[in-house]
Amino acid sequence: MPGNRMTTGARTDKPQERPVMDAGDIARALTRIAHEILERNKGTKELALVGIRTGGVHLAHRLARRILDIEGAQVPIGELDITLYRDDLALRKDQPVLRKTSVPFNISDLKIVLVDDVLFTGRTTRAAMDGLIDLGRPAEIQLAVLVDRGHRQLPIKANYIGKNIPTSRDEIVKVLLEEEGEEDRVVILKA
């Protein structure tokens, strides 16, 4: 496609990729979010991170490491699979593959920061909140995302945002992370 700088030598039938964050941007955004979490919650007392599988889990672990570096305190980390709470299960032809939820601590009365890679329609966050509430009664649920791409279908807003990236609905925002064998970066794919 003329004018696209990312497609040198690429096949035309491949989705075109536009980089929006590199490894440095991601690292800086996470450091800032870690500081914001500590500032808002006045430290790590009664604080826990719960990552939404899969990307959110990796980011939750990274945030916890930064919080440890800054504050010298280890916050508990949980891993949440929201598949069973999706609102489109009955509509889908194939059942999505389940992954395990592992929240090895009692969430009741804790301030939980849900961590996800991309905030889009808000349906995943809604499902995650339902999933969390089935595990106990947290004192508060906050939301941290690396990317907010807009197009909300539910009244949901993140407390901590790495980067706001305006997109059109037919674009795909992909967060690639080292933990998945990729080089850290965020790209927009245009079909």
Partner: protein, 306 residues
């Protein structure tokens, strides 16, 4: 991958990948059954019908609990107490149930092949909860899950299945699945209780219990189905118990750490000595607990099939 089939009828037709997918899916539900609130909304709006032509408290309760924990609507239907005595056939009963928008029918029937016949005639997914002497796939899957939970690898695993194999659909499903997964299956019992072609299913035949138990990691006891045999297949229960009952002494012939399984309900003191049933090597209650998680996994996977 996903389970791309409308029905779950037998383990003979399930691939290794499909079996493993069911076991892995059950892991997620095991976590759910360990929570304080043991309920997820995955099957909200779906209807599951337990159609049990044969009485079975254990399997029916397990399916009912599994469906309810997935937030499905559950109807328990026991035709013996209603329309069948008025002359209604299996298919008519099932069509009526289908007309009530049932998504999944769980069928227990005394005739082998009933589940397959039903599956061909209705749009709902059909899960075989035991058909005659044929198969009982969900029981075998929960047995496999329990074996896997004990971290025993299927490949090269030595399993002895003891007792009335001929009348046991559980044994048949387990032989299909375990041999498919690479285990060595030994069947042992009096000749009158072993089906003629069992070696063609991939199992090794033993008539002596001590010999069969040597070096196995899993001892799977079968229930002596006193109500189903009609004619006596052995002279007395006492003799059967003496020759084929699992005692603590006999368990010692197996590999150290071997597990003892039983699909229940157990005849204490007949096929299994009470001290074995209550010993640390017994995983009988784990099987019951795992049954709910495995059936949740199956219902979840089947609910996407329509």
């Amino acid at each position: 991958m996903s389970l791309k089939r409308k029905d779950l009828l037998s383990l003979a037709t399930l691939s290794v990948d499909e079996i493993m997918l069911i076991l892995e899916t059950a892991d997620s539900f095991k976590e759910v059954t360990g929570r304080e609130i043991k309920k997820v909304p995955a099957l909200r709006g779906k209807t599951v019908v337990n159609l049990f032509f044969e009485p079975s408290t254990r399997t029916r309760t397990s399916f009912e609990l599994a469906a309810k924990r997935l937030s499905a609507d559950v109807i328990n239907f026991s035709p013996s107490a209603s329309s069948v005595v008025k002359g209604e056939t299996l298919l008519d009963t099932a069509r009526n149930i289908e007309a009530m928008q049932a998504d999944i029918i769980v069928l227990r029937h005394q005739a082998a092949g009933a589940a397959e016949t039903l599956a061909r005639s209705v749009k709902s997914s059909v899960i075989n909860a035991g058909d005659g002497w044929h198969e009982h796939p969900t029981q075998a899957l929960l047995d496999l899950y329990t074996i896997r939970e004990r971290k025993l690898p299927f490949k090269g695993l030595r399993v002895a299945i003891v007792g009335d194999v001929t009348h046991s659909r559980v044994a048949r499903s387990n032989i299909y699945a375990l041999t498919k997964l690479g285990a060595e299956v030994r069947v042992v019992g009096p000749p009158t209780m072993l089906p003629p072609a069992v070696d063609r299913m991939g199992a090794r035949v033993y008539y002596n219990l001590e010999e069969a138990l040597r070096g196995v990691q899993v001892i799977m006891m079968l229930r002596l189905q006193l109500e189903r045999q009609g004619r006596a297949l052995f002279p007395t229960i006492r003799e059967y118990s003496r020759l084929y009952g699992l005692t603590a002494e006999r368990v010692k012939l197996a590999e150290p750490g071997a597990i003892v399984m039983h699909p229940g309900p157990i005849n204490r003191g007949v096929e299994i000595a009470p001290e074995v049933a209550d010993s640390l090597s017994s995983v009988i209650l784990d099987q019951v607990a795992n049954g709910v998680a495995v059936r949740m996994g199956i219902l979840y996977l089947m609910s996407g099939a329509n």
